[in-house]
Subunit: 278 residues, 2 copies
């Protein structure tokens, strides 16, 4: 059996009792380590689970899936994913490959950032399409996510922005030389995401547009949701460029029309109460 | 401290290790029992947690919140919610009241149906507004959710439909007589939701409209997600009137444009493969 097990958000103790039982008894346990992170590393998980974990980076999962699935017809293999196995990232490829090989599979769900952001008080019902905000480079500054946020807002829907993660990336030079030297991991913070959004708004204004989203649009910055030291800050997009939310992972929400109860909840996390007076 | 603890979906073992520790050691533990259900009842939870739970129905939570929060400044009180405490239903009211009373609170997240539906293979990114489908009565047949589904679909977004739950409802007669006699709980199944949608489509056609959603629109029926005996069925809306998914809780998804990987995943659950050939 292939078990896809969500680890939730936070630390080692956020796994479910059901998930922990499987992790303890299975033959091999892989840790997917490229789409999200917990506040603790592999070693802390191994200590809590009382077993060895095999780190599975993107290359392993995409190119060596068969080694992950080896013998999974006869024994139990666990594939551990931060959050939920079908949350922000789906692992459909692995499931489809398992099914093709006649290997039964089971999903053990857990909290995903896609639903846990509800803790800021915004109704999950009222979210539209989720967008990814990627790190801009000197030559690549995609803006398409901005149009999705605008469309959501026009329809009265909030937008969850998942912020870029760069793990095990090679520099262009090392890539061309075929050198397997990796850059340090990078995680986009709320400040950077807000800066990029403001830059797009500037661009649009220069082009004569009147963007639906402005520097005064109410946003929510979230960091390390589920961890003991999680932080939530609400305020204008402009204020989001200045908030200090600390270590990764960060996410950001661009709000649309706020219901009174949503507004009351967001005020609990206000950078500056006066942002909510209008 | 007030702890809002998600129980996840499925059974008693779907609580997180972190959540279980709090439940075991807190002074009082309430079980919110009117917005969702697990496949096991209060007794099974009490046995697994090794402690007594206080059942909190809608009346208690809405009218006697102060009794729930009593002494929570000095001792730990746990409020247990099926799924995630800020998932399909938010418990903002309770949090706001706690904050007002100067009681600190913490959320222990878990799987919510809002994200767990990703296990059918549809990307959570591509979901628009979530809708609730309520039981129609002879005199009350709201259709507004249908327009939301249509708008989502026009925007290329799937729609999660949460199906009605009626717990501790009084008949009109008993309500008028002030008799606290409650009807047996009712949970809408996928067949009923599909029938109501087909009825709306018929109505719209009679009014000369050409609905975006038809009897051939691909839908997904989901039952008891997270439980060992969960069931998923994909097929046309027409087929959804006939699938037998068994016991509650059920949810339904109305799909929009399917990406190839989404289509491949949905085929795993097809009522009839030929629905996916067009």
């Amino acid at each position: 059996m292939l078990y896809l097990i969500g680890l939730g958000l936070g630390d080692a103790t956020d796994i479910t009792v059901k998930g922990l039982e499987v992790v303890k008894q299975c033959s091999r346990a892989y840790l997917e380590a490229y789409t999200s992170i917990l506040t603790v590393g592999k070693e802390a998980l191994e200590e809590f689970y009382g077993r060895e974990l095999i780190l599975a980076d993107r290359e392993t999962v995409e190119q060596e899936a068969d080694s992950i699935l080896k013998d999974a017809k006869e024994c139990d293999v666990a594939f551990l994913v931060v959050g939920d196995p079908f949350g922000a990232t789906t692992h459909s490829d692995l499931v489809l490959r398992a099914v093709k090989l006649g290997i039964p599979y089971r999903v053990i769900h857990n909290a995903s950032i896609m639903s846990a952001v509800g803790c800021c008080g915004l109704q999950l019902y009222n979210f539209g399409e989720t967008v990814s905000v990627v790190f801009w480079t000197d030559t690549w500054k995609p803006e398409s996510f901005f149009d999705k946020i605008q469309r959501n807002r026009q329809n009265g829907m909030h937008t969850l922005c998942l912020l870029d993660i760069k793990v095990k990336e090679q520099s262009l030079e090392n890539l061309m030389k075929g050198k397997k030297i990796f850059e340090p991991p990078r995680y986009m913070c709320v400040n950077q995401a807000a800066e990029q959004l403001l830059a797009i708004i500037q661009n649009r204004k220069l082009q004569g547009e009147e963007p639906e989203i402005t520097e005064n649009t109410i946003c929510v910055g979230l960091a390390r949701i589920g961890a003991t030291d999680q932080k939530i800050a609400s305020g204008t997009l402009q204020q989001m460029t200045m908030v200090d939310l600390g270590d990764p992972l960060h996410s950001m929400i661009i709000t649309s029309t706020l219901h009174p109860l949503e507004r009351d909840m967001l005020k609990l996390f206000a950078v500056d109460d006066s942002s909510f007076t209008n």
